[in-house]
Symmetry: D2
Subunit: 205 residues, 4 copies
């Protein structure tokens, strides 16, 4: 039985790397994964899924006019075993419903990776509907500078100051965003480069 | 470290019963749980959380003007160990943010129980923001008549026919809604009263 | 597709209540659940699943010689939709393998509820094999007196002192065991009856 | 609050790749991860964690005589922010208890990656105690050739035939093991190289 999955994370959690590892599992078994990423995300060129550890793969792109129906899938990969979508927060409500239909009426598993909320704490359109409709929702963990679990994205301006207003989407490098825990996000604390707290062996050794 | 939890389910999954069992764990340890339910839900009287197995407890009610700040909590239960909220899909965006603040700035754990989507597949306001901001999201499972996992709510009219348009909120008994799996929801199938498929012992016994 | 589930918890987390709520979901849909509990657990009489909130249901019992094969299931409930097993930590390795076979070869879902570890931190035989083979493993949360998540069971003698050695199984009331968090378990701390820490409204109100 | 994590999977699910991505999250934030792998696993040289996508990192090794106490950690990395352990199924009962103690008494998070069961369905010593004691247990998904979720490891001899008896540990390449779903494991089916089932666009297109 096919499922719709949403694996969300804060920025720089390694989502694309985990996507490529999962897709590779299909390739190794002789099965065909079909990869998509958002056309809007051109950080590493268009139609490329890239990890910070140096791996990259080509991918199809989607934009606002893409229709995820059987025609598209059959055209791209009639033998598809699983659809992978990176930057899934940029999907529209209609596109999430199309993917949900592909999964539950046509039996094609779909695994989406994306952000949950923007720097203001607002969910993206794709996240809203994936969270509402996905069969399995999973958080990919990452770490706040304070040691807590990072679940929010703080936007930083060019002087390193926190920004709390502005447009939802501003594609940028890692340097404009900081993944932080809920407490640091509420209090506006930036603890980005903190070393571990330092352990001391017992009895003065 | 306190967390904000969202435990969602389709209708009639036993959410209120699970809430009362969890709150009882606090009472048994001499700790104080603080219970809320939606004023709008008057199926069993106002300010009462009731299970279909016959247990009920009094609860505070919230409506659109409730402010979940420290003043309210201190007034109701200064020694509170955990806040439980039933029918949490009726919370507003602001109320979810207030609860998120109570959790992460004031250290009070909050556990919310509610529906994820309405009969059209649209998330409720409270669900949208709980799914976006909760630290832990958990599905409380229930069963579709076809044997699959029920994740959607189908609205039925007085003649037993499926309804796909109408207002989001229509408080009613179990008889107006059917919890169904994604496939039955897409195809509009009502398999509400199906017995098991029948097992046969091997070798004609 | 049927699955084998293991929902584990520390003592007094409300496992039996959650089992009865889940089984009730089947009854409401006209489907047949089949209930088992351990013959060894006679706290509330034999063959009865009881919750601390006052609900109870009759159940079949299993002991070391029970064989969970198709013959048994067909004899007890040929139309079974789901098998529920309480006190599943008392299952043997062979019985877990039989249930795993029922699930994956005969398509009968099986949901097991039980303890994960004994008072010494050792897994029970049933827990060991359910943790090794279950398709879905879920922790049912409960609370330590210190506010942390209780995951261990501390055994207490008749004078209220902690016991760290002895037989694995000693059926007793709640008064002989304390559900505690990992830290309290390591340090041997009993914080069983602590009220909340007390909130103070801001600005002296 | 630190936790002990166990992320288990069948063989070839990409465990080591996910470990390296997670450790990299710490490095990017200027925090110090401490990596271990089993001395026994020399597939890629000793003291190296390698992924099938071509990334590798040096790691400390553990064997049966390693003691995971504060002395060891302080010696290797006094500023450690998180301990990562690959091939954690090879840990002993005592080593899992030492790690549990490091987490809950000394506050060092520990994330273990490993297999859950061997080719006979028996848990490894490390898996048994990690499943019994970990605060969070998570399955890293992979795929069976039949399209189901792979949860078991089938051992294959040099002629490609399934083996069901033998020693628990036999370090070998991917060619001696097949990750399969519970049903294929019970029935002994090898569907390792199956293409997708083939989709057909509606209406003859």
């Amino acid at each position: 039985m096919a499922n719709l999955y949403f694996r969300y994370a804060a920025m720089n959690a390694g989502k694309s790397g985990i996507l490529l590892l999962a897709a590779h599992n299909y390739v190794e078994r002789g099965m065909v994964p079909l990869l998509f990423t958002a056309e809007i995300d051109t950080r590493y060129g268009q139609g490329v899924i890239t990890t910070r550890l140096g791996i990259q793969r080509e991918a199809n792109t989607f934009n606002a006019s893409t229709v995820f129906d059987l025609d598209l899938i059959v055209k791209l990969a009639p033998n598809v075993a699983c659809i992978f979508i990176d930057e899934a927060q940029f999907l529209s409500r209609e596109q999430v419903l199309q993917l949900h239909h592909l999964v539950h009426v046509h039996g094609v598993p779909v695994i989406c990776y994306g952000l949950r909320t923007d720097f203001r704490g607002e969910p993206f359109p794709g996240s809203t509907y994936l969270l509402a409709l996905a069969d399995e929702i999973e958080e990919l963990p990452t770490i706040c500078g304070c040691g807590g679990k990072a679940r929010h994205n703080m936007r930083i301006d060019e002087h390193g100051k926190r920004v709390t207003e502005g447009k939802q989407i501003e594609i940028g490098g890692n340097d404009r965003y900081l993944a932080v825990c809920p407490k640091c996000w509420h209090l506006g604390v930036q603890t980005s480069r903190r070393p571990g707290k330092g352990l001391v062996a017992p009895e003065g050794r």
